[in-house]
């Protein structure tokens, strides 16, 4: 299998969401650029999401790994810093307590897909405790700042508001379903997991602690989050990192 390290950006095509290649920073980087062609014949370009040309040449397109090494410390270094943690959404604001209304969240920056996926895998794993109360789902005792009870409740609320938006058929029963208010319908869609109702408190706390750890693993500490900007160069290289989503076969009809 050709990995991202050996692949080259393709013209106007983004890396597949479920590409299983290893490398924590490389996977983020590959989602920040795509290939293009210049107005001059036989010249190829690399562009960022907002259209900035960060490399142009008349030879073969470099690989993702070569480009990332070239940009680290090069003139294009800053093009991969100061990106917003959340994708653009009008009226976006941060929350410090559960609000009375129910504002929707913006999603993470597109290149932080792996971070979103790991949080989903944690929630999915936590749900094992619903039908298997003996399932071991530990939190994070060290390496993160302690998470308050109010923060646990806020995080679970935040997760729930999005899970409620999308229901799906069980595997093999059909295709994507659409928002129907969250109830189990006669068509067989499954409602969202009511996290606060079916997960024990220690499991809810473990989800919140793991979420804090996940953000940290992508270089987004609480201080970085407060600034709402992040940098590719703060994401650890972690060349051996492989997404659990790929390891578990999620998203590939497994």
């Amino acid at each position: 299998m050709t990995t991202l390290a050996e692949m080259r950006p393709v013209h106007n095509t983004w890396v597949d969401w479920d590409d299983p290649s290893p490398g924590r920073r490389l996977r983020v980087f590959a989602r920040l650029i795509h290939g293009d062609t210049s107005d001059y014949e036989h010249r190829v370009q690399v562009r960022t999401h907002d259209g900035m040309v960060v490399w142009e040449g008349d030879r073969d397109m470099p690989t993702f790994a070569e480009l990332m090494a070239m940009f680290d410390g090069g003139l294009q270094h800053d093009a991969f810093s100061g990106m917003t943690v959340a994708g653009y959404k009008p009226g976006f604001q941060t929350l410090s307590a559960i609000p009375e209304n129910r504002p929707t969240s913006a999603g993470l920056h597109m290149a932080l897909q792996d971070l979103g996926d790991e949080i989903q895998e944690d929630i999915s794993e936590a749900c094992q405790t619903i039908t298997n109360p003996g399932y071991y789902f530990p939190g994070v005792p060290d390496g993160i700042e302690p998470v308050s009870d109010d923060q646990v409740r806020l995080v679970i609320w935040g997760l729930q508001r999005v899970l409620d938006k999308e229901t799906r058929y069980h595997k093999g029963e059909g295709t994507i379903a659409y928002y129907d208010g969250g109830g189990l319908t006669t068509s067989g869609r499954r409602p969202a997991v009511p996290l606060a109702d079916v997960l024990a408190w220690p499991v809810q706390r473990a989800i919140a602690e793991r979420r804090r750890l996940r953000y940290q693993q992508w270089g987004i500490t609480r201080d970085v989050w407060k600034r709402q900007t992040w940098s590719l160069w703060d994401v650890p290289l972690d060349a051996d990192y492989e997404p659990r989503r790929a390891l578990l076969g999620h998203g590939r009809g497994a």
């Binding site: 976006f92 949080i119 953000y215």
Partner: protein, 47 residues
């Protein structure tokens, strides 16, 4: 004569043998679409 004692037992259901896996009742968060997976991370809430 000591009173008879009973040993409390906790039923343990191992994965794969549960009669009603949770995925048969609820949507698995790991199966929702990429956009929703990024949104669930709730970047508007402190890590």
């Amino acid at each position: 004569m000591p009173a008879p004692t009973t040993t409390p037992t906790t039923p343990v259901i191992t994965p794969g043998t549960s009669p009603h896996p949770w995925q048969e009742t609820y949507t698995d968060p790991a199966e929702i679409c990429p956009n929703q997976r990024r949104e669930t991370a709730s970047p508007d809430i402190e890590p």
